[in-house]
């Protein structure tokens, strides 16, 4: 199974129906799904030990030295 077929299978499992006009855009070799796979591979390349998950960008707290 190539990447495009794999992408299509995963999307169909999620209930996403790709009509032909969007299929290439989503699952073609330069499509969005491959872009997502590339993003995933990027974020798992690095060591994040010592960091807890947070979206808190409250620089103010840091500014107060807490």
């Amino acid at each position: 199974m190539n990447d495009s077929e794999f992408a299509r299978m995963l999307m169909e499992k999620q209930g996403i129906h790709l009509e032909s006009s969007r299929a290439q855009f989503m699952t073609g070799s330069t499509g969005l799904f491959n872009l997502l796979l590339a993003l995933r591979s990027e974020i798992f390349k690095k060591d994040v030990s010592g960091y807890i998950p947070t979206d808190d960008l409250d620089f103010r707290e840091r500014g107060r030295g807490k």
Partner: protein
């Protein structure tokens, strides 16, 4: 050529009004003439109540002493993602085209009103702000003022376009992965993405809660600074005052950047993805900075190359959650590209999300370490100028902008030159959190040295010759 009221820069308008040489009504009238002349073709505005803005301007002119404020009588266009009381916020979407008008102003609009600005219409955008071209299938394609065969950038495309065509001297945009800076780059205007959280995003339709920023766009850095300062509430002023530090721009006539440490993050700027002119002007900016006395230092942020993937992973998931019910009920209601991006968000797993959050925490810390060593750094804004309308999504478009949203640091995009094909290119200057004052001072100096042309884009000046389809 005679200078019309709308051809003055925003700060010039303020000065001329102060001297009694220009009225708010003249400015508004002149801007409305530009809207009338160009909007059908360029699609900058989704809605504008001409009678209302004219009435407001007359009222201001008739009561000169009554209302004071730094933007008194100045029209400011608003991206149609932001609530303005009594007006529909379409978010550029068919879902909200006929929605009920907003009951109240977003806090950022309240600030503008308190500053005396005239809320001058709602600007077009990429549908739900989820895209970088503003080729909006519901409200028309925002066309580039330098060449209407090209897009205006997005998602704040209408705001950039309105400024470049002199339909408005200033505007508000929003920026999640680059949406203020992309259209600024493509349209040849200035856009500021402030520090994350500095300006309130309540009353603004979200794309990704932990990435959304709101900020000003205008023709010059001084204009952007004037709007930005008017948007600051007391809390924001305190934060900026704390972040200002001791570093100041030299007031000397030469070597104005003496003492400033300017970072060159060579390893993070791949020449091969940049247009030749983008690269030349990026290099030129360092030459000018050095000439002005800055110390240019080679620097790096460890793992920064993952900041793009981190930003997209978190944004994909958040955007898809925000639109979950709409997607379930009526996926055809979205444009094809936005629908596809939202579907892609379903494929981000919880494991991906948590990893991206951890990586973000690490990147922010590394970024803050960098700002202990340098005062600012320069990146291209977009690697290339505006693509042609209808081109497939270019995955490198947000290469230099999205990572800065991952960090949440402030960044200002300024026009840096024009390609041989006649399209603008841009650089962005980035600093640590709450250092907007220094950032804007540096930007003013580089803006002056880069000397981007101030004339109206040729296409706008000869708009009557345009023959492209007007409905899209």
């Amino acid at each position: 050529m005679i200078k019309r009221a709308r051809d003055f820069e925003l700060t010039e308008m303020i000065e001329l009004m102060r001297k009694g040489e220009l009225t708010s009504h003249q400015i508004v009238q002149s801007c409305l003439e530009a809207v009338e002349a160009y909007n059908e073709k360029f699609r900058a505005f989704i809605s504008i109540d001409a009678d209302e803005v004219l009435a407001q301007s007359r009222k201001i002119d008739l009561q000169p002493g009554k209302k004071k404020g730094p933007l008194k009588g100045i029209p400011v266009a608003i991206k149609d993602l932001i609530d303005v009381a009594g007006q529909v916020t379409t978010a550029g979407s068919s879902f909200f085209r006929n929605a009920k008008p907003a009951e109240s102003d977003a806090p950022i609009i309240q600030r503008l009103r308190e500053a005396g600005a005239i809320i001058f219409g709602k600007t077009n955008l990429h549908e739900f702000a989820w895209g970088g071209t503003s080729e909006n299938p519901h409200f028309g394609f925002c066309r580039n003022p330098w060449n209407p065969e090209h897009c205006a950038g997005g998602s704040s495309g209408g705001s950039g376009l309105a400024i470049a065509t002199h339909m408005a001297p200033g505007a508000l945009g929003t920026d999640t992965l680059g949406s203020i800076r992309h259209p600024s780059s493509f349209c040849g205007v200035v856009g500021l993405k402030p520090t994350f959280g500095l300006l309130a995003t309540q009353g603004i339709f979200p794309l990704a809660y932990t990435f959304d920023h709101v900020g000003p766009m205008a023709r010059t850095v001084a204009d952007v600074e004037t709007i930005f300062e008017a948007l600051l509430d007391q809390k924001a002023r305190r934060l900026l005052s704390r972040g200002r530090g001791k570093k100041k721009i030299s007031l000397k006539k030469s070597k104005r950047l003496e003492g400033i440490r300017m970072g060159r993050l060579t390893a993070l700027v791949p020449k091969e993805i940049c247009h030749e002119t983008t690269w030349q002007k990026y290099e030129k900016a360092f030459e000018f900075a050095e000439d002005e006395g800055a110390i240019v230092v080679n620097e790096h942020i460890p793992d920064f190359e993952t900041a793009l993937a981190t930003g997209f992973t978190l944004t994909y998931a958040q955007a898809s959650e925000i639109h979950y019910e709409r997607m379930a009920k009526n996926p055809e209601g979205f444009g094809e590209d936005v629908r596809s991006l939202l579907e892609l968000g379903y494929m981000v797993s919880a494991v991906d999300y948590v990893r991206a959050q951890r990586l973000r925490a690490k990147l922010v810390e590394e970024g803050k370490h960098l700002t202990e060593r340098i005062d600012a750094w320069i990146f291209p804004t977009t690697p290339k100028p505006a693509p042609r309308i209808g081109q497939p999504i270019d995955p490198t478009l947000a290469f230099f902008t999205a990572p800065i949203c991952t960090l949440g640091f402030p960044s200002v995009a300024i026009p840096s030159g024009i390609t041989p094909e006649g399209l603008p290119v841009s650089i962005q200057i980035i600093s640590g959190p709450y250092k907007e004052s220094l950032l804007l001072e540096i930007a003013k100096i580089l803006e002056e040295r880069l000397d981007f042309p101030k004339e109206l884009p040729t296409w706008v000046a000869s708009a009557t010759a345009l023959s492209f389809p007007s409905k899209q």
